[in-house]
Symmetry: C2
Subunit: 338 residues, 2 copies
């Protein structure tokens, strides 16, 4: 039916409807109202030829691509995968395409994508970092409007931001542990210098502050990975005095910790309580099911896309989405009280 392999062009429609290409374009885009009869001729031609504007020509003239970029450390990581799913869904609802890029923490990858955005390859960028910034990223971000930051901050970047309420999460975890009777708590944090690490710790401290004999007696900082969880588990068990509960900064850390504890004969929650953060992994399927602070992943994706398509505000908004504690079976009274 269609004469050309790639579908009809606007001028085919124009010819079929016996109007000019400009008329078709303007009518279709609503910048020209036409009498019923003419409009119907165009509509019919569009349907008959199954016309769709060539996106490349459109992007060239419009200078935008109806596409956003998602830059994150690693799509295979369940937390980022969930985030990506939420963002993809939100972008799709907004009629936006999504191009994906994993940095795998290779330096320069993030900057490369900012550059791509500056050159209008994409209309906007959703950025997920998980390493401290030496100022490079901040400068690049501030020099190039159109990016937004989610999940983790780049200090000093003046861009819209969407984070979960890390401090509240830390507080919730701390209060929960406290209520169960724990006084000696381990904080297994993310990397030093990351907002999430700092804030979760601050929230934990706030919770503990009200109880004089409660304290963080052990802490560690490192990547939010499985391997780090395993490493930390060993170190924690080797130390003295041993805490009775752990607040870990990610699902992955918990997943890494658990087998080490089990191996060492430390039972959860009888000998050691544990609270995770993120709650996107199958924490409910572990033995015991692990309690965790749940991040509102879908909402973060939703808001990220909304902010990207919204008119820029000054100063750019920084949204804090609530977290909540999901109680399962990994917290009990400390052994001394049992």
């Amino acid at each position: 039916m269609a004469s050309r392999p790639n579908g009809a062009r606007i001028r085919d429609v124009a010819a079929a409807a016996e109007v000019s290409p400009a008329a078709v374009s303007r009518y279709l885009n609503g910048s020209l109202t036409l009498p019923r009869e003419t409009a119907e001729r165009i509509d019919r031609a569009v349907r008959r030829l199954d016309y769709r504007p060539n996106p490349h020509a459109r992007r060239l003239i419009l200078g935008r691509s109806e596409t956003i970029g998602l830059v994150l450390p690693d799509i295979a990581n369940p937390f980022f995968a969930r985030l990506a799913a939420a963002i993809e869904a939100a972008a799709d609802r907004a009629g936006l395409g999504l191009v994906l890029s994993a940095t795998l923490n290779r330096p320069g990858r993030e900057l490369e994508y900012i550059e791509r955005m500056r050159r209008n390859h994409v209309d906007g960028l959703i950025f997920v970092t998980n390493h401290p910034d030496d100022g490079t990223l901040r400068r690049a971000l501030n020099a190039t409007p159109g990016a937004i930051l989610i999940d983790e901050d780049v200090p000093g970047a003046i861009v819209p931001k969407v984070f979960c309420d890390n401090e509240e999460g830390g507080f919730l975890a701390g209060r929960h542990l406290l209520a169960a009777g724990h006084r000696h708590i381990a904080f297994v944090g993310g990397p030093r210098g990351l907002m999430s690490t700092h804030e979760r710790r601050a929230g934990l401290d706030r919770a503990l502050a009200a109880t004089p004999d409660a304290a963080v007696i052990w802490e560690s900082f490192g990547p939010y990975t499985l391997a780090e969880g395993a490493r930390v588990g060993a170190a924690l068990l080797a130390g003295q005095p041993r805490p009775s509960a752990i607040f870990a900064g990610s699902d992955e850390l918990v997943l890494g910790l658990l087998p080490v504890l089990r191996e060492a004969g430390v039972r959860v929650p009888d000998d050691m309580s544990i609270v995770g953060f993120d709650d996107v992994g199958p924490l409910h399927l572990l033995d015991p099911p692990v309690s965790a602070i749940r991040q509102p992943v879908d909402a973060i994706g939703e808001r990220a896309v909304a902010l990207l398509t919204a008119v820029p505000a000054d100063p750019p908004p920084c949204e804090r989405l609530s977290v909540r504690l999901v109680e399962r079976g990994s917290v009990a009274a400390p052994p001394c009280l049992a």
Copy 2:
């Protein structure tokens, strides 16, 4: 430095190097060799102006986008997320952008993407289905070259394909269970009508065929999901006679099964052995660590991109990538022999 907000254009470079835009284009694309002196003038201008071709203009004239599309059911699913990571990495190495789309099994989404490819929005499509095809997808695929199929087949689609060796996987699982002494085995498959389901079952049968008293005494078919795993677990425990081992078609199924077994007081592997498939989830962190057939996810991604960028062959290749059994702690002798 750059006079325009979006970077230098080819004519800026041409002006700076005192040649024509055509000369710059052809020199940069290797279709014109120039004397050292002229070439250096252009190189210098390119560096000084930090020139990069406008991708939209490039795509318009070239009719291709240096971008491929990845269409999969759900990026939040760990298996697909791993696959996406592998494909993203391979695409990146090949200098290709990746646009992501999750179908969430909405009908029509897949067709929509094939249509987009036909209109040159993307240069190629990597397709991951997980539902039986009624012929619609086959027809669309065959009518539009440039897509490839991975992980799951669309019967009759004449396109390059990359699958793991499901049959071998089923065989490996069956042989392993047999070797441990099991004779009464449950097959927890994916949906009926899916290649993976069929082939894994066939491999299992082949393994059992050599042993007269060994048989699949229970089977189920359903989505490769957690919820299905839980459902099936309950059904399986309610039936009589009870098998001594389960071969489940995905990590998710295992993850759904496990808590149901535990709840029912059925110990793994003492009372029930279990072998999974995929091995991308944290199977090694479960209690007990679960043995599984490991899919070569990275290799699948790698080959998919390679096939997409290769010159089309006739007939299109169908690659089968080897799987292997990863033995952990979820298989033991059946209780009757213990």
